[in-house]
């Protein structure tokens, strides 16, 4: 039983990896179940044995990416020495995450509206996990007496995250494309760090 499940888990993992590669290079709609099956030298039917449908497969990949991302954040955010370091780490990690999985997200780009409910659930989970980690960072700094008391850390972090997100979007509307091109990502990253710098100073003031 356990052995069988191990085998299953390994195969599931293989499928997730192959799917990730396909989705990463070709996006959701330009990836077919036949192609994924082909990459793994298995029949398409087998994919449906492991995953109920294509969107669930995509979501499973996404869930894994999100979990990895959050693990990276968590591993580090409970051991920072000051607030700026913590937030900078978040911005850098997020930047790296986007760069590495850039094409994966064209599902969002193309399908912008009417996405499956589950996707928004994952996005929401990631968002609130980030919000939690960062507002905790603020609380710790307040306890240490490093910054003056804040009555609602979650609200502050929420605003900051929206603002950071805005930097991304801002670079877009000027460039007339509704998603940042890879070339712009570095520029966006720099701007985010600038915003962060001012914002942190504002918190400490």
């Amino acid at each position: 039983m356990a052995a069988a499940n191990d085998q299953q888990d390994i195969k599931r993992e293989k499928i997730l990896e192959a799917s990730h590669q396909r989705f990463l290079h070709y996006g959701y709609s330009k990836t077919t179940m036949n192609e994924i099956a082909g990459d793994l030298s298995m029949s398409k039917a087998l994919l449906y044995y492991y995953f109920p449908d294509k969107s669930q497969l995509y979501i499973a990949v996404m869930r894994k990416l999100a979990a990895d991302y959050l693990k990276t954040l968590e591993s580090r955010l409970d051991s920072f020495t000051n607030l700026k370091e913590a937030f900078t780490f978040q911005v850098n990690t997020h930047h790296e995450f986007i760069v590495n999985n850039y094409n994966f997200f064209d599902f969002f780009r193309l399908n912008e509206q009417n996405l499956p409910e589950t996707i928004w659930q994952i996005v929401g989970e990631v968002h609130s996990a980030e919000l939690n980690l960062l507002s905790n960072a603020i609380k710790i700094e307040v306890d240490k007496g490093a910054i003056k008391p804040v009555n609602n850390p979650e609200e502050i972090v929420d605003v900051l995250m929206d603002a950071l997100h805005g930097i991304r979007v801002g670079a877009i509307s000027q460039k007339k494309t509704n998603f940042p091109r890879k070339e712009h990502l570095e520029e966006i990253h720099t701007k985010k760090l600038l915003l962060l710098d001012i914002f942190i100073k504002g918190l400490m003031a």
Copy 2:
């Protein structure tokens, strides 16, 4: 000659007003030239006598709105007493502008990409005018010695404006609609003021 042109200008103005109302209530694609003509009890052909085509008509309306908006900003931004007041005025004016012309902009919502070049030109002009006014406000404060010297005011304002814009967008992705609903506008406004507060403190630190 002058009289004839006056008459023309008056009629042009009437057309712009009627068009504004239509675009405001029904958006670009759901407004037909026949309807505008009907509102003014004139033939559709006459519209084409005054404006070369539909998009030029829309753009003319937009240009007028933009001019009014900028005039409001300018009238006040050269006589503020401190930086926060200046920026708050910008945020409030912008908010009012969006609220008043909310539906007008569904041209952007629907047509998000492939908009006529001229529209981006106007958006760009408004943006750089705002950027100018606000970075000037910073320079004045620096000269007054109210805040510490800033090596690149334009860059700062640019980041702030992107961040403020991000507040708007942020409220969206959570709500699953790609443009803020009217109900959210107040919430967005409040968040913007909070961001502004922290940001300004950060500048003064």
